[in-house]
């Protein structure tokens, strides 16, 4: 472990290791920081931030499916002011990079949030892929022209690298990724959740009050790995890969597919120490496979 180089580079910023938390599954760090030192992580991602506080969708907001989880939180959060005043200073106490996930209802709102964040965070992650809100969200993320447009306009207001978080609910992920790149994105996050539904066959009602929700967890991992691989081959931007990462080997799979860093989402709901556990297992994987530098295996899949 001593001569192991775990650092990776995302858009010119070095993360001490490639393990990141995924937005919305980590709160803003308060709770999970009671289980381990957040300085262990390469970066942490905030909950979605909107301009004003947002109530989110009515409960139930979660349903378990086979190897997956459906959620319909709907971006509940306390707004940008609260984030800057309370959450960010707390996160800054740790030696880790901070990614602010922003999810405005409109392009203008996203620009405004980016502006207010200024240089206070290390990255801005533009969420154009939330399937649980009527305005903004996935509606932005499925049309390449809109992706190009919104990326370009938000980019103008960012003082830090802009990560665009893509939706998997699209016909051609590469087309969307290319649009984000052309629009000026500095990195890409993928994937957000797949739109899904679960019905209670006895009551005949959908389990989620919102009817549909976003599917995450190991069930979606093959789709996520495939998308990371396709995008990595076709787009020259660093990728933060996510979707069902539950172990160190899962993290390795995404990195081999082409991700420069990986985010742990649903696993945080299963065990508060998940991201730390995954980091440790990933180190074991590296040691076992005699890999001295993580960067050596980024995109190193031997495809046919």
């Amino acid at each position: 472990m001593n001569n192991l180089d775990m650092s990776v580079n995302i858009a010119g910023i070095s993360l001490k290791n490639p393990i990141v938390t995924a937005s919305g599954t980590f709160g803003n760090g308060w709770e999970i920081s009671r289980y381990y030192d957040l300085s262990e992580l390469g970066a942490v991602t905030s909950k979605a931030i909107t301009l004003s506080p947002k109530q989110g969708n009515p409960p139930p907001r979660i349903a378990e499916t086979d190897s997956g989880v459906l959620n319909s939180v709907g971006l509940q959060n306390s707004g940008i002011e609260f984030f800057l005043k309370y959450d960010l200073p707390n996160l800054r106490r740790y030696d880790t990079k901070v990614i602010a996930n922003i999810s405005g209802n409109t392009i203008e709102e996203n620009c405004e949030i980016a502006k207010r964040l200024g240089g206070e965070v290390d990255f801005i992650e533009l969420n154009i892929s939330c399937p649980n809100v009527k305005q903004g969200g996935v509606a932005f993320g499925t049309d390449p022209r809109i992706v190009y447009d919104i990326t370009g306009r938000v980019r103008e207001h960012c003082s830090v690298p802009l990560i665009v978080k893509l939706s998997p609910n699209v016909t051609d992920i590469v087309e969307i990724a290319v649009a984000a790149q052309k629009g000026g994105a500095n990195a890409l996050s993928l994937i957000n959740t797949l739109l899904g539904m679960k019905i209670d066959v006895n009551t005949r009602k959908p389990i989620l009050a919102n009817n549909t929700g976003g599917l995450s967890g190991p069930a979606v991992k093959p789709v996520a790995v495939r998308m990371v691989w396709q995008v990595a081959k076709n787009v020259d931007l660093p990728i933060i890969g996510m979707g069902g990462i539950m172990s160190g080997e899962d993290a390795a799979e995404f990195i081999l597919a082409g991700a420069s860093a990986v985010a742990v989402g649903t696993a945080n709901l299963v065990t508060p120490t998940a991201a730390l556990d995954i980091k440790k297992q990933f180190v074991q994987y590296l040691v076992k496979n005699k890999i001295k530098n993580v960067k050596d295996i980024i995109g190193a899949v031997i495809a046919n």
Binding site: E31, P59, V69, N268, L269, P272
Partner: protein
């Protein structure tokens, strides 16, 4: 730093059909009304929340009804097996706010579990009002008798003791004028009715709410209930709330 506990099951009892009672080694003393978040085993990913039913000698007791996949898997565990348990979690019943009079714990069905541990903290002037659907489901009567000065039991169908609702007994019991606090857990409709009666009589009342959970620690925001018009997290801001603040109809 807090952590999850790997707990050995030391006792397993069936309370009534499809309802089990587990005692496990557990290092951390919980407060009344708190819950633990339990990994049910391979094939079910998310933990399931269970109220603390009792705690003694580093042993935690929890009891549960088999509902779906998770509780079914949990029930298959045997004495000696290990369970991965997170907790204790959440807020606790305000047993210090009980006042000078008699405290009531009012529960329905599986809602009675957290009330047992709570009654132990409330002291001898506590009475329990417990409602069950039918005779076969009446459980823990002896337990409550041991810690309460009186245990009133009603069944929906009158197959055990008198037929009726816990609220009937609650209203009757209010006549004496000596009740100063009420702690309740059970079906939402029941808790709402109890809360309304308590409010009318200006009695301190706390409820234990339920909502489908993810993380159990406040980081995923899925487990919300409307409290004074805002969505608060049941796992972190609750599960215990002041009854007056709960928007039961949302």
């Amino acid at each position: 730093m807090e952590k999850t506990h790997s707990c050995t099951i030391v006792k397993k009892t069936m309370l009534c059909p499809d309802t089990y009672d587990f005692v496990v080694n557990f290092p951390q003393e919980p407060k009344p009304g708190q819950f633990v978040h339990i990994s049910c085993g391979e094939g079910v990913m998310l933990r399931r929340p269970m109220s603390v039913c009792d705690y003694f000698d580093n042993n935690l007791r929890f009891s549960f009804a088999v509902r779906g996949k998770g509780t079914k898997l949990l029930a298959q565990h045997s004495v000696g097996d290990k369970l991965d348990i997170l907790g204790p979690l959440g807020t606790n019943f305000g047993v210090d706010k009980k006042g000078d009079g008699v405290s009531l714990v009012i529960g329905g069905g599986i809602g009675i579990f957290p009330l047992f541990y709570t009654a132990k903290f409330l002291g001898e002037k506590t009475e329990a009002i417990l409602g069950f659907r039918t005779k076969d489901l009446v459980i823990m009567e002896d337990d409550f008798n041991a810690v309460c000065s009186k245990t009133h039991i009603v069944t929906d169908d009158g197959s055990y003791n008198c037929a009726g609702l816990v609220t009937d007994i609650f209203k009757e019991r209010l006549q004496k004028g000596d009740i100063t606090s009420v702690y309740t857990c059970g079906p939402r409709g029941m808790m709402k009715a109890v809360a309304e009666i308590a409010a009318e009589n200006d009695i301190f009342c706390e409820v234990s709410l339920e909502e489908r959970m993810g993380c159990g620690i406040g980081s995923c925001a899925v487990c919300v209930c409307k409290i004074k018009g805002k969505y608060l997290k049941v796992c972190q801001n609750g599960p215990i709330f002041n009854a007056r603040e709960v928007d039961f109809d949302e």
